[in-house]
């Protein structure tokens, strides 16, 4: 529950700050309410469905591996940040 408790910190702060003027308070409340509404798990239009109508039908769980990737990327040597890093490391080496 600590996540929820900590999470209320910034929210509470925002509310106090907004309380300065009633107009900002109202402005801030509206989108928040809309978001909560939007956030709710919806009722399914049907009570039950066939296994094959599921997002990942039973037996096909193995097919989801390509939907998740490892958090690192080894094929990005041409990408800007990696290039900069290499240059930077070369620079440090020069100073040793």
């Amino acid at each position: 529950m600590s996540a929820a408790a900590d999470g209320s910190g910034p929210t509470a702060k925002a509310t106090t700050a907004a309380a300065d003027t009633s107009t900002t308070l109202k402005d801030q409340q509206k989108p928040a309410a809309a978001l909560e509404e939007d956030d709710e798990f919806e009722d399914f239009p049907v009570d039950d469905w066939a296994p094959e109508e599921s997002e990942v039908p039973p037996g096909q769980e193995g097919g989801t591996t390509h939907l998740w990737e490892e958090s690192w990327d080894d094929d990005d040597t041409s990408e800007d940040f990696s290039k900069q890093l290499k240059e930077e490391l070369a620079k440090v080496k020069g100073q040793k």
Partner: protein, 463 residues
């Protein structure tokens, strides 16, 4: 009244809970748009109860014996329903100011008469969808009533000054929804306390009512109360049908909420299990629900498996893409500054969805990827083995670059000026990585180098 009563007998004949539940729906079906008006206009407050009981008897196929508890129960339910329709039609009338509090109170009578029908042993388990309909709309009307009260509360105390308005705004903010939670809780108790044999037990209503409670508690921001429900459920596990025996809509919703609760409690292993299975089982056209499940599954997998969503996974859900793509990219390339920017830019949304703190922990993975790159950039020895001794200075340079987001000339100055202090910080970060098992090795302080493990310097990343 005859329309309503015919529907009632038809549902009974079919033994169909959903059909029976439809008889007390506060929403007119598309093929009979003036159903509510027709029922309401058919009688008046003075004769409602007599009318219904008379019609129910008249439309029955067989002779009815008196006194008939079923007819009595449904006379009470339909009378309450008739009053509720009156309140709904008034609220929906275009020229009047809607009074949702009145609708809520009227619907609460419907819910209470339904509960009475079950607790008195009159309504059987196959009619459970009636209980669901009563509970579902009770909650919806409560939310509307509270919104209404908040809006009009703001009007009346408009001139009362900032401070008082604030107090008025906080007081009774969710009065009706809290009240609805108590009624729904009674519905839950009704289901869990039923001792009838499983085939005809109200225990089949347990997950539906649990889900309704979860939704209500989440809305009230009292997620902790859900724990009581979970405890009660696990206590009666032995004399309950297994979760798999329930309809998929009940299971998926239940697993989603349980997964989110575990996520918030930082029990990520359990959260992963429940959210993954909710995702798999979710109806494939329920896009919004899949989106919600993934909103929590993505941060969970980042921590449990250090996996990121592929663009293929995100592409059907543009809002998920804009929520997670910048952060995902930053982690993948190991750019700390891009990570910090993405986290700051998404902060409002992340906090709102209660995933900020979990995502923040992704910074460790981002740093791991950065340090990993330093290692990979190192030289190979004559045997083709990578150098496992890395200067703290090298890591420091990488972190500086990662944090600034660009290699500027200014950094050289900083390096000359406060190199020692800076290296202490870097050693601290590295020690942290080692402690969290994201990196394997040790720091040799006197030599200013990090000695990485020769096999598996960065566990789980293939090197």
């Amino acid at each position: 009244m005859e329309v309503l009563c015919r529907e009632y007998w038809h549902a009974n004949q079919e033994g169909s809970g959903p059909l029976l539940a439809a008889t007390i729906s506060p929403i007119a079906p598309p093929n009979y748009l003036n159903r509510l008006d027709a029922i309401y206009g058919d009688t008046n407050a003075a004769s409602i109860s007599r009318d219904i009981s008379y019609s129910l008897t008249k439309t029955a196929n067989a002779a009815i014996q008196y006194p008939n508890p079923e007819i009595n129960s449904w006379t009470e339910i339909y009378s309450a329903y008739w009053y509720a329709i009156g309140a709904i039609l008034a609220a929906e009338h275009p020229t009047t100011k809607p009074d949702w509090t009145k609708v809520y109170e009227a619907w609460k009578d419907v819910a209470n008469t339904v509960i009475k029908g079950y607790s008195g042993g009159v309504l059987e388990a196959w009619t459970l969808p009636v209980l669901y309909t009563a509970g579902k709309h009770l909650r919806a009307f409560a939310i509307k009533a509270d919104e209404n009260a908040r809006a009009s509360g703001g009007d009346t105390s408009f001139n009362a000054g900032g401070l008082q308005e604030d107090i008025a705004g906080d007081f009774g903010k969710n009065e009706k929804l809290e009240d609805a939670a108590r009624v729904i809780n009674r519905m839950f108790t009704l289901c869990i306390s039923d001792r009838a044999p499983l085939e005809e037990s109200r225990k089949w209503g347990l997950y539906y009512t649990t889900n309704l409670l979860f939704k209500t508690y989440f809305k009230l921001n009292s997620i902790g109360l859900s724990k009581n429900i979970l405890r009660a459920l696990s206590a009666s596990k032995t004399d309950m049908p297994t979760l798999e025996a329930f309809p998929r809509s009940h299971i998926v919703t239940f697993k989603y909420y349980v997964g989110v609760i575990q996520f918030l409690e930082e029990d990520y292993a359990q959260a992963e299990e429940n959210l993954t299975s909710a995702w798999h089982m979710c109806h494939r056209s329920a896009t919004r629900n899949i989106e919600l499940i993934l909103t929590y599954l993505i941060p969970t997998l980042l921590l449990t498996r250090q996996q990121l969503p592929s663009s293929r996974l995100l592409s059907p859900y543009p809002s998920l893409g804009s929520l997670f793509a910048p952060l995902t990219l930053a982690i993948r390339i190991g750019s700390l500054s891009a990570f910090d920017t993405a986290l700051a830019e998404g902060e409002h949304e992340f906090v709102k969805r209660r995933i900020y703190l979990t995502l923040e922990r992704g910074r460790d993975i981002c740093l791991r990827n950065l340090l990993r790159k330093v290692y990979l950039a190192g030289d190979l020895d004559e045997e083709g083995k990578r150098n496992t001794r890395i200067y703290v200075k090298d890591f420091a340079a990488a972190i500086r670059l990662g944090e600034s987001g660009a290699s500027g000339e200014g950094m050289d100055v900083e390096m000359d000026g406060s190199a020692g202090e800076n290296n202490d910080e870097v050693e601290c970060l590295v020690a942290n990585m080692i402690y969290k098992n994201l990196m394997k090795g040790y720091i040799s302080r006197e030599r200013g180098i990090v000695v990485l493990s020769k096999n598996g310097a960065f566990p789980g990343t293939g090197i």
